[in-house]
């Protein structure tokens, strides 16, 4: 589980863990049923307060991303897939919002942005000849 904490950028550390675990689940790099590191182990590795990791795991549990099992471990939920799609859309929505904000600043209308999206999509299509 590759998580990186940046204490300089202001985002609360528990939220950095939550967001990155969600991202890893969405990206398929944490599979349903996979066990997350124990709280102490992750706290030690990230050099953060164990209470912070515990809070992140609680939030992830409430969001249905992970579940606690009787053996006291924390596992990625089996029902991860619909959420994963939602998370993927959420990540994309944030990017789109940033794009639209920038377009507005540059005085480019949304229609033109959509046209540009289609145009770029065609450019980035793999060439059938090469495939």
């Amino acid at each position: 589980m590759d998580i990186h904490i940046s204490p300089h950028d202001g985002v609360p550390i528990y939220l950095q863990i939550v967001n990155q675990v969600k991202y890893l689940v969405a990206a398929g790099r944490l599979a349903p049923g996979e066990e997350l590191p124990a709280i102490r182990v992750l706290a030690d590795r990230l050099v953060v307060n164990p209470n912070t990791v515990a809070r992140a795991y609680r939030e992830l549990e409430v969001a249905g991303v992970v579940e606690k099992r009787r053996t006291a471990g924390t596992y990625v939920s089996a029902a991860g897939s619909p959420l994963a799609r939602r998370e993927r859309l959420k990540i994309l929505t944030e990017r789109i919002d940033a794009l639209l904000a920038e377009a507005r600043q540059l005085g480019i209308r949304t229609d033109a942005v959509v046209d540009l999206l289609r145009q770029r999509d065609e450019v980035l299509q793999p060439d059938p000849e090469e495939a």
Binding site: G10, V11, I13, V48, N49
Partner: protein, 308 residues
């Protein structure tokens, strides 16, 4: 002063109304502080703000002239031996006997602590690559800090007190120190009090934070709460302006021309409304780092608060 029987509230450290003067200089001014069991408590503030003086009171090295200090429910200055046996302490410049070898230093220190765990001491010494045959005076600054850390941890103290432990050390030694804090707190019921001016380190490991400035506690609380109640908001004004307006909740401004960023405390909606009245638009919003909050509170750009 009439001795009041201490009410052991469950706080490991309880400081109330603590004032300390050194000649004409007020080092601590009515300090009130409670450190609950099982938390990492970060004391932050500029050099000379009073952090070390406060820590010396907690350790019983200074006696409270005005106000009271309780550690584990007792006055540490009245019976420092009893309190110190349950406390691990590391200062910025650990005062270690230079003529001793590391191995001798460990055996010597062990005699002071009934709970000393020699196996744990040896494990720590090995993990820090400290040669037992090395003379203390020949250790590098980082290795001296590590030796000090072994001495502070090997009796598995209920309370670990670190005074600017990372000051002037390289990142690898600093990581060892932070790791020791994290592992100490991971063991049920242990408590850590540490002072630092490296706010990103405090932000990593602290549950609670108190900001001390010129001997006073400027603010104190759970780090999560502090982060929840502070905002960094970027405003865009219709016209460039030489100075930002006075807005409620703003602690400090930064910017030029039409775009100004404010670190503020309180409700974001209130600031949004006040900004709208000045014709400004909120173009950016994020949670500030503890460092930004600190600078906004006590830095040179801090503004006089405006009532809502």
């Amino acid at each position: 002063m009439v001795a009041v029987p201490s009410e052991y509230t469950g706080n490991v450290i309880e400081v109330a109304g603590l004032t300390r003067r050194f000649g004409p200089k007020v080092a601590l001014d009515g300090v009130r502080l409670g450190v609950p069991r099982g938390v990492v408590f970060g004391l932050v503030g500029m050099n000379g703000a009073g952090k070390t003086t406060l820590i010396k009171h907690v350790l019983g090295l200074l006696r409270a002239a005005t106000g009271s200090v309780r550690v584990f429910g007792t006055d540490p200055a009245a019976g420092p031996a009893g309190v110190l046996a349950r406390v691990g302490y590391l200062s910025e410049e650990p005062d270690l006997p230079g003529w001793m070898r590391v191995g001798e230093l460990l055996r010597y220190t062990r005699a002071f602590y009934p709970n000393w765990d020699p196996a744990f001491a040896d494990e720590l010494r090995r993990s820090f690559a400290l040669d037992p045959a090395a003379k203390v005076k020949h250790l590098s600054k980082g290795q001296r800090a590590r030796a000090g850390l072994v001495l502070a941890l090997a009796h598995r103290p209920e309370l670990l007190v670190l005074d600017e432990p990372s000051s002037g050390l390289d990142p690898i030694v600093r990581r060892d120190i932070l790791g020791a804090i994290v592992r100490t707190i991971a063991e049920e019921g242990r408590t850590v009090l540490f002072s630092s001016h490296l706010l990103h380190e405090v932000e990593r490991v602290a549950d609670r934070v108190a900001l001390i400035d010129r001997g006073r506690v400027v603010f104190s609380g759970a780090l999560d709460h502090i982060k929840d109640t502070h905002h960094r908001v970027t405003l865009r004004f219709p016209q460039p302006r030489p100075e930002p307006p006075a807005l409620p909740g703003v602690l400090a401004w930064e910017g030029t021309g039409a775009e100004w960023a404010a670190v503020c405390s309180g409700r974001l909606d209130d600031l949004r409304a006040a900004a709208a009245e000045c014709g400004a638009q909120v173009v950016g919003h994020r949670v500030p780092s503890l460092d930004e909050i600190f600078v906004a509170r006590v830095g040179p750009k801090a503004v006089e608060p405006v009532e809502a």
